[in-house]
Symmetry: D2
Subunit: 349 residues, 4 copies
């Protein structure tokens, strides 16, 4: 399988560069006869799109999906679904100053070394814009999971020094998808301050999944947490992932960390909903560490293509904090992974 | 590909239950003409084996490898290598008290629900003993990587409240593989105390890889950190993973987190040696969170196969802290992943 | 991997229905820095397109490729290449008479039973038009193989009773790609006669590959003939395949069939260029049996969606003999398979 | 996936060389709770084993299976099943005369060129003995298919000039598994004559599958005939395959080749039970061309490892016609392929 594909029973393949004529995704393995909710699909796209969020970039792009195949009179046919995002704005002039110099913290140095060629227009394939294709596939997967009673919700729980222990998911309809209305406002204020300082800042996204039946995931290499980690760590900004008590387990005793059970159910969820790599029927909970975006308008040391030291100020309108827009990418990768496992374990009916 | 296999160009398939007649691994895709160092192979096996480590279980097992195929007169032939560990001690009486009851924090509840059948002998396929087959494959992969100048070293950097910031890897020849001789002693003392209290304790393992050329890993879904996370998170005891600054990124600014570069090289390594999913030539560094072992000799609430609440004290000689033995499993999964990527990127020569 | 994908190191994924808005292909794994010859690409497309060949359908379609990604200033970048064929003529009225009835010999009965849904427009995904996407990928693969000295050429060697033993490949620039100018004329005459009788006719395509280095193909399940058979038998019209002496081997003795060798080279090529599943450096030769096209304008018994017996005359302008257009599809599937194996065995340099 | 593996939902991995200490197979993905019929398993093994058939080699080997994992108290557990055949007779002296010389028609020349190393003992991995591991897996797959009402039967229908059009499968309990008792005797007589002349001879095996539900196989690259061709063409002796009317289609008209249908069912089966790559519910029928075995005791020209011309007489007790023993290998590969597709399409229940 190619490296731009993910999944077996439900396979997602993305293509396209940030400033090329189009980005897209091929979704193979979808059950036939499912009525796609186009509005819900677009709503997820809008959560990720640039300009749709005050804490993100000021660039304004409309991510409108064209469906080229696999759907007939609104219903899936069981054949591969191609969804395309045509670029409406391919202005590459913003990138001229990057032509011969590598952005610190950015993929363009390793890409150049690996491929010996450089598409300077916005990062090419390593651009966050590639994730829009994943969101299209993920939004469809979420609909197919919802039909089976499975719901996925991610939100920002930390930005820099602003951190919340509250999990009032009813309040998560803010731009940070933060389950704490007060903390959300503080996060937004912090992001604006960081933006004014020409800097960026990191955070933590938490994701919870409800309604997963017992039995998703396979022992050994196909453990549920392993597959979810693969999926979520394939998002460029993510630097770490932890399930349940995660890194806090390092300080815990077994007598504290084990989730005891009575006939009424589990008494705690330190495991994060997975036992032995298989879903236990509890809520699945994990956190992802999000690094500060690398493109900042501050002078930084770097090298050019001749390996000479130089100083770079990245121009353009970049995201000071990617959490608000990455939330839906996390949800999408989780949905893609879970639907693949669901199809594998229980078939497509 | 089956769920008991991992890798494409270098494919590892494990089989066998903890108390069955044998465990083993099939290694497919190894280059031909490589002379295997059998002693080095066995040395890695010994680092993992029960009874080989004072901080682990007191059960004493000899993990002696039989090679059934793929090697002719000491050299690899390019055909699949089968390595088998025959069980010398299949005593299952220790497990009679677990026949109708599920251990808290253990896989046997989800396995029973998923497969409708239960092999009570030591956890069957979910047992940590399965990892001995991975270590056999990983030890071979480490030799093949060493030939290419790549070295992998993991060690314990935290057990409960004992934590070290030192990284004196010359001192790591202690039973914890801890890069701090003094901390190692404190860790061992803490583990002994925990054992005497019939409890267990968690920790953190750090792994560093040197000599990786620029260019391992693929954009999008095959990012190096994504594949390593899949590999390491497939170890049962691991609850989280973070690369470079990891979760600390949540509190960092871009101006601090970006690794600036001059013509002499990078000025820092917050990224952990990976940019855009591709190795940058820097040291690759990550940490894995290890949960306390679930089998403890303290009374805990659980249910039996009739879903009636009961109290269980797990008997037998279990590991109070798995870090010391898991270190080599982490190294093995990293080696398997990197060799697979190396073969893919650069071929087998 | 999804069922609409083929290959590992070089992965081709097709999508699109015959009368949908577009057909396309995603090509993943192409080396970077290769200059694509757009004219040669289009030339292969033209060999397959409807209306481009007097022995084929009279429908006239222009198969013009749009490249959406993976190419920058004419060179491949190493990222996935998306090629799209937008439909210029989506007229579905020809198919109204097929709405409730299944064509004999056609896929629409099994598709309806498998998916429970029916896209009557031209066969949907099972249409021969899907192969245009394969030809786009195959034409690129042929360029990448040519760079490595490997050439693929297929031609018609039998149509009905017209059969040739001549292999004058210099003469193959006729519409049948037949390596015998005289036989080609007889084939064309026979096809015209069959068309006038509202019938169709089968044939045999032969393919030869030159310049393949020793060592392509893997023992056991990845034998070169097994992978080529998978590839070629995935073309809808192909009902059989044979390598070298093929079915004639059934009547041969070992002393006759073995290809003896002296220091000057092999004395014969009954094996068709493959020994033990691995290319031997000789010319690879195989034949594919092509069935008569199923859509004919003669009354035939069939059933409708209520499983009532009825008689159907398929209307529209269909191919009386698909050989002339299938030749390039065979070449394409061979090219895709060989490039995948070449990349696997020798890397992308 | 490694090249020694086959299948996705049901994955078979073989290992071992002909004269190494053991051959074996790992079977991943088997449903749990299935009671294996050990006697039926061994019966299939016996049909293939050397010395079990008067038309085969006179070497006598007992192929006794050891099951090392995946089965508990006779039932499958859902974990990988390892089956091993330990070598009882590793006598390699027969092969001393082959040390520096390549057998005509045999894999050892291409293996040496590909791997740069040579295990002269009986062909190593390319030996027909490898297929014993496939038969073990196939015999299990046949039991799992039988539970679902699917039966597979192969038999010899041609050896050299002896050919039968009869299909009296009740009579197939002869050593050739030939569905014609009289022809079987003629085949056996011909094989004995060929043996006395120190030569070998080819033949044709036909296979029919009954009880396959409508819907196995996937459009495009996963067509049922494509996957079966991959499977069957991966058997070393097979040089061609054809479904239904196969190569005879080249001379047929569409009006003759199309299988018309009334409400009572199909009126013919020229398609061989597959339409558009998907099983149609009819009997699946195909034929495989079997080449004469390459190891013959007649002088033949060949080269040695210094590429000097020499003459070789292969010694030892080889099969003059492999059809009788290959029949069960064909059945096994078909069973493995169909169970994989069945699991994929309908799940494991």
């Amino acid at each position: 399988m190619g490296h731009n594909s993910f999944g077996n029973a439900f396979t997602v393949t993305t293509f396209g560069e940030s400033h090329g004529p189009a980005l897209g995704v091929i979704i193979d393995g979808v059950e036939s006869g499912f009525k796609i909710d186009r509005e819900a699909l677009q709503a997820q796209m809008n959560r990720r799109r640039p300009g749709g969020n005050p804490t993100g970039t000021k660039r304004n792009e409309i991510d409108e999906l064209s469906i080229l195949s696999g759907v007939y009179e609104g219903y899936t046919t069981g054949t591969p679904i191609a969804m395309i995002l045509y670029s409406t704005n391919q202005k590459s002039t913003d990138y001229d100053h990057l032509k011969d110099v590598f952005r610190p913290g950015h993929a363009d140095w390793t890409f150049f070394k690996k491929y010996g060629i450089r598409d300077i227009r916005g990062g090419g394939r390593s651009s966050g814009r590639e994730t829009s294709a994943r969101v299209a596939a993920g939004a469809l997967a979420m609909q197919l999971l919802a039909k089976r009673g499975i719901s996925i919700q991610a939100g920002t729980v930390q930005v820099g020094s602003v951190k919340t222990e509250n999990r009032n998911w009813d309040e998560a309809d803010n731009v940070m998808s933060c389950p704490d209305r007060v903390a959300a406002k503080q996060m937004i204020a912090l992001v604006e301050q960081v933006r004014s300082e020409n800097d960026s800042i990191g955070g933590i996204i938490e994701c919870r999944v409800n309604g997963v039946p017992i039995g998703l995931g396979e022992p050994v290499f196909g453990k549920l947490q392993a597959l979810l980690s693969h999926a979520v760590m394939s998002i460029g900004a993510v630097k770490g992932i932890q399930f349940g008590s995660g890194f806090a387990c390092a300080s815990m005793r077994g007598s504290e960390c084990n989730d005891q059970r009575t006939q009424e159910g589990f008494l705690s969820n330190h495991a994060g909903g997975i036992l032995g790599g298989i879903s236990s029927g509890q809520e699945i909970v994990f956190q992802a560490a999000i690094k500060p975006t690398s493109s900042i308008s501050r002078p930084q040391l770097t090298v050019n293509t001749n390996n000479e030291t130089t100083t770079l100020v990245v121009e353009g309108r970049h995201d000071p904090c990617i959490c608000s827009r990455a939330v839906v990418v996390v949800e999408s990768m989780v949905a893609i992974t879970l639907l693949d496992l669901y199809y594998t374990a229980f078939g497509k009916n």
